[in-house]
């Protein structure tokens, strides 16, 4: 099939003008990996400065720019585009569509991303330095007291927001209109389901973020006072708007990860996913709850007690659907016939670490206890357990899982397993001690700390270097596979794999499913 079609164009123009979902997916994936390396480099600077008490390498002002850019680049540059890339590659193949519904827009939504991040990274070289107010950019630190580069920061947020919205519209349009005959909603792979829900979340909340930064822009340049008490505004309003976006945002990051894990665990357990329906409902429930829990990030701003109680109860409720998911995954493994190739190892790692992050999340939801945890390293540990273990581990699993399908070559299993173990160990050495220093009273976002925190910080830094190094191994393994991996032409790379993507040839041809498959 597809012989009458032209293949990819040659040279640079292939990538600049491509409307092929696989090409665009590939570009998203490489772009996000390069952002992951950049954000990782910022993290290495942070951990190097925190290796010992005292200021050694950087100045406090620069340290704040590092924490800010690390967060922004990782969230908006690495994690979100990586899942968009995966969606581009996999969703059409999973639902039996020839391409995305809006291939031209797909090209735009990718190509506006690199300039946005070029501008964001470029602020480092501007007068007054890069944004230094944290990735949550609370006013008035990010308005009245911001460096001049804040305007460029706002512009790049607008652009990447637009990119996300276009990408999401594309995904929804594809899933709703391009499914192969017989592919009903309740037959869709879970990865497609989680992405569909994620895309709706994105369409709903990225404009809210755009609204927040627009208000900042107006406060800074046009004399309004949305967030300034002097003119009758309120700095706390900023936090409400930000977290109204920000809390759904964390589910935007984690839901596709849930989808990936739900694809991989059944494959290697050689057993169908347990509780498919409840997985779908749980995902929807989490998405719904994400809109009514935002103020749990703000327990210490002085909300009325009724507000605290409402947000505490709503937040605690999230534990129920999240628990359902974890139980379903474990039950999927139960009485399966498991093997532990690299993708499966990363999923197990995900399951263990994400569950720990979920527990600390439950602890953080308890408002009175949060008065002690809030803005401490305990929070830093918590969200890295859910973000890194959730998004990065599942993304690594996804790459190892689908790489043979993408390029027709098998990765080096030993190297893959080594990558897993080094990252798993490095990750825990980095972030587990952060629970301790947080509980002992170390605030987050500080460039220097009291002596009582010294040992755990040194450990944390060593772990971070190990974890960082393991990603170089990952990069090497992926490149080595693409260039010189053992060729494989088996349509079904994994014995237990299910789904339409495993029915096409390996490597996946440039055009797939030009004639829609019939799903039974």
């Amino acid at each position: 099939m597809g012989d009458h079609h032209h293949g990819p164009a040659k040279g640079l123009s292939r990538w600049l003008f491509t409307t092929n979902h696989k090409d665009i997916g590939t570009m998203y994936l490489w772009f996000s990996f390069s952002m992951f390396i950049l954000g990782g480099a910022f993290a290495m600077i942070i951990r190097a400065e925190l290796f010992q008490p005292g200021m050694q390498l950087v100045e406090p002002a620069f340290f704040n720019q590092m924490t800010t850019l690390h967060g922004l680049v990782m969230v908006f540059g690495a994690i979100m585009p990586s899942f968009v890339g995966l969606a581009n590659w996999m969703i059409p193949m999973m639902i039996g569509a020839p391409d995305m519904a809006l291939p031209r827009m797909n090209n735009w939504s990718f190509w506006i991303l690199p300039p946005a991040f070029l501008i964001l990274a470029g602020t480092l070289f501007m007068e007054g330095g890069a944004p230094n107010f944290g990735w949550t950019f609370y006013a008035p630190l990010s308005t009245t007291y911001a460096p001049p580069s804040v305007t460029y920061f706002i512009f790049s947020i607008h652009v990447l927001g637009l990119s996300s919205i276009m990408g999401s519209i594309n995904i929804i349009a594809t899933v709703m209109n391009m499914r192969a005959p017989g592919m009903t909603y309740m037959k869709m792979p879970l990865f497609v389901w989680t992405w569909l829900i994620t895309a709706f979340l994105l369409v709903a909340v990225m404009p809210v973020l755009a609204g927040a930064v627009t208000m900042m822009l107006m406060d800074i340049h046009f004399g309004t006072s949305f967030f300034s008490a002097a003119g009758g505004g309120d700095p706390v309003l900023f936090q409400h708007i930000f977290w109204f976006f920000g809390h759904p945002e964390v589910y935007i990051i984690i839901l596709p990860a849930f989808g990936v894990v739900s694809q991989i665990i059944p494959t290697f357990a050689r057993k169908p996913l347990f509780g498919y329906d409840s997985m779908v409902y749980a995902t929807a429930a989490i998405a719904f709850l994400s809109f009514i829990v935002w103020a749990h990030h703000m327990y210490t701003v002085g909300m009325p007690v009724a507000g605290e109680l409402f947000f505490m109860y709503a937040t605690m409720l999230i534990a129920v659907p999240t628990g359902v998911k974890v139980f379903n995954w474990v039950t999927t493994m139960w009485r399966g016939a498991m093997t532990f190739e690299t993708p499966m190892l990363f999923c197990m790692g995900f399951l263990v670490l994400f569950t720990i992050g979920g527990f600390t999340g439950l602890m953080l939801s308890i408002a009175p206890a949060d008065f002690q945890y809030h803005d401490s390293y305990f929070v830093v540990a918590h969200f890295h357990y859910v973000m890194v273990a959730g998004a990065v581990f599942s993304m690594s699993a996804a790459v190892y899982y689908w790489l043979p399908k993408w390029c027709g070559r098998m990765y080096n299993e030993t190297m893959g397993k080594t990558h897993f173990w080094i990252s798993f160990i490095g990750f825990n050495i980095t972030f587990f001690p952060q629970h301790f220093v947080g509980l002992a009273g170390m605030p987050r976002r500080i460039p220097d700390y009291a002596l009582q925190f010294a040992d755990f910080n040194m450990m944390s830094s060593i772990g971070a270097f190990i974890y960082g190094a393991s990603q170089i191994l990952f990069l090497y393994n992926v490149i080595a596979t693409i260039v010189a991996g053992k060729p494989t032409s088996e349509a079904k790379t994994w014995e237990g794999a299910e789904g339409l993507e495993w029915t096409v040839a390996t490597p996946a041809p440039y055009h797939t499913f030009e004639t829609p498959p019939q799903v039974r």
Partner: protein, 186 residues
């Protein structure tokens, strides 16, 4: 369901793009006003009403005494001497009370200030009625001069009975740059 185009993909795109635009507008036309309404109603942040209270209370409740504390803070870059003339008052709910804050501009040039009130505990804010307050307007002051700024207030008779102390805080901001026209022509 409403169809905006016979092409289902276009239909989906138009609906979603409209949703995005509506969500952007939602921030400005719903979230901000709603937040302000909730703040007024629930006293979030201890915000008090920015308009003079005009209702009449049903007499003075002599049986109750509430302690009112006055606190003043200068925001950054505000060089005025600013503070309450008395730091504490004992008042009865329903009664009208008067006090003044004093302000002095030590700089040679004229300045304009805005005082922002905040009440603690915040749930008392809705029961703290100001019949006259310097915080309702911006306060201009010539260079090197002083002023007495009046405050007149009533504590509502319905103030929850477990509140015995209310703190009224003013933060004074320099808004000279935010005022459009000339301030010399006061």
């Amino acid at each position: 369901m409403l169809r905006v185009s016979s092409n289902p993909v276009v239909d989906t795109v138009v609906k979603l793009a409209s949703t995005a635009v509506i969500m952007f507008a939602f921030v400005f036309v719903v979230m901000v006003p709603l937040y302000n309404v909730l703040c007024d109603a629930l006293g979030i942040n201890g915000k008090t009403n920015g308009e003079a209270y005009t209702s009449v209370q049903a007499g003075v409740d002599e049986s109750r005494t509430v302690t009112i504390q006055f606190v003043a803070t200068n925001n950054e870059g505000m060089p005025w001497d600013f503070g309450p003339s008395v730091t504490m008052m004992k008042v009865h709910p329903g009664a009208s009370n008067d006090t003044v804050f004093h302000a002095r501009n030590p700089l040679p040039q004229a300045m304009v200030a805005q005082a922002i009130p905040s009440v603690s505990p915040s749930r008392a804010a809705a029961y703290f009625h100001k019949t006259e307050c310097f915080c309702f307007n911006q306060q201009p002051l010539d260079g090197d001069s002083s002023a007495e700024m009046p405050l007149q207030f009533i504590i509502d008779r319905d103030l929850p009975s477990d509140i015995h102390t209310i703190t009224l805080s003013y933060t004074i901001f320099d808004v000279t740059d935010m005022v459009g026209g000339s301030i010399a022509a006061r």
